[in-house]
């Protein structure tokens, strides 16, 4: 029997016990964030890089350090490959990791990835020795191109960032999963626990979410729900669901 709980997520040779990757944006306070991250069981968490404002005390960096959570710097807010490469280098220096969540968006309105700039940035960063985890459209062809460029995972969106719309195109996600030789991580658009479970049932390797937890009415409770949903969805995927049938099939023995 497959033990669903001895089933690590492996990215670029590094194993993680949790298949839930979290973001940190949108939390009402660092205290709530810390409790939510702890309850979620996450072992990998994204942060953004921004200019220092004088007098800021207490930081997300301290929270991650204290809880031994690996930081994943992102390139949020970048619109061009050149911007993203610059931001990735700063993240590497600040956080001492060559892992980067590569985000190159097309505009503020949709926050959708710009595929041309994204692929260019991925190629440049892989050449510089980064372990690149790109936030991408749910496009199987682009996912394949990113993998061919040397990305360590592909991270297709479920729906636009922060929208909570859930998985808009499960068929595309399944195609990405079928074709991928690297982990597929659904990133963005998750609204609630069933969305996270569905992502895992479709065969994705992990889920990355932030807003669904940090802006929930009870972030810590939602963090627990997401932890359980990801585990349940993964177990269901490994267990192999029954085929869908058009007609009933008795589950009790027939009467002689």
């Amino acid at each position: 029997m497959t033990d669903a709980f001895d089933d690590p997520l492996v990215i670029a040779g590094t194993a993680f016990g949790s298949r839930l990757i979290t973001g940190t944006g949108g939390a009402p306070s660092l205290e709530v964030l810390e409790e939510a991250l702890t309850v979620s069981g996450t072992e990998l968490t994204t942060v953004a890089m921004r200019r220092v404002s004088p007098g800021t005390r207490g930081s997300v960096w301290d929270v991650l350090e204290r809880n031994k959570i690996r930081p994943l710097p992102n390139t949020a807010g970048c619109f061009t490959a050149a911007d993203a490469v610059r931001t990735a280098r700063l993240g590497r220096e600040a956080l001492g990791t060559d892992w980067v969540k590569l985000e190159v968006v097309a505009d503020e309105h949709t926050l959708l990835p710009d595929p041309v700039e994204l692929l260019e940035a991925a190629e440049l960063l892989v050449d510089e020795g980064f372990t690149v985890l790109p936030y991408t459209n749910d496009d199987p062809v682009l996912a394949r191109r990113l993998e061919q460029a040397g990305c360590a995972a592909v991270m297709p969106l479920a729906a636009p960032i922060g929208s909570g719309l859930g998985i808009r195109n499960p068929h595309n996600l399944e195609l990405i999963v079928e074709g991928a030789g690297v982990p597929v991580i659904v990133d963005a658009g998750i609204g609630t626990a069933s969305d996270a479970a569905l992502a895992m049932e479709l065969g994705c390797d992990a889920v990355l979410l932030a807003t669904a937890v940090t802006r929930a009415r009870e972030p810590v409770l939602m963090a627990a729900a997401m932890r359980d949903a990801v585990r349940a969805g993964r177990a269901a995927r490994l267990a192999g669901r029954i085929p869908v049938r058009r007609h009933a099939r008795a589950s009790s023995p027939t009467v002689d």
Partner: protein, 71 residues
């Protein structure tokens, strides 16, 4: 001389280094510069180990960044 620090013009003494600018922003009362900070001069990252030995020139653009909640 004048620098552009995080987008704002700033008057500093001659001989100011990257370390001085970082300390001024992140530890103005003295003490240790916290972790999770990176600095760039004219878009080139300066490694932490080199901050003290990297002097600045007039009109250099110095950016000091930190990890914040996001993503």
């Amino acid at each position: 001389m004048e620098l552009i620090v995080n987008g704002d013009r700033s008057e500093v003494p001659e001989g100011t280094t990257v370390a001085d600018v970082v300390r001024g922003l992140t530890a103005p009362g003295g003490g240790e510069v916290p972790g999770g900070i990176a600095a760039a001069v004219n878009d080139e990252v300066v490694r932490r180990a080199a901050w003290g030995s990297t002097p600045l020139s007039p009109d250099d653009r110095v950016d000091v960044l930190t990890a914040v909640q996001g993503g």
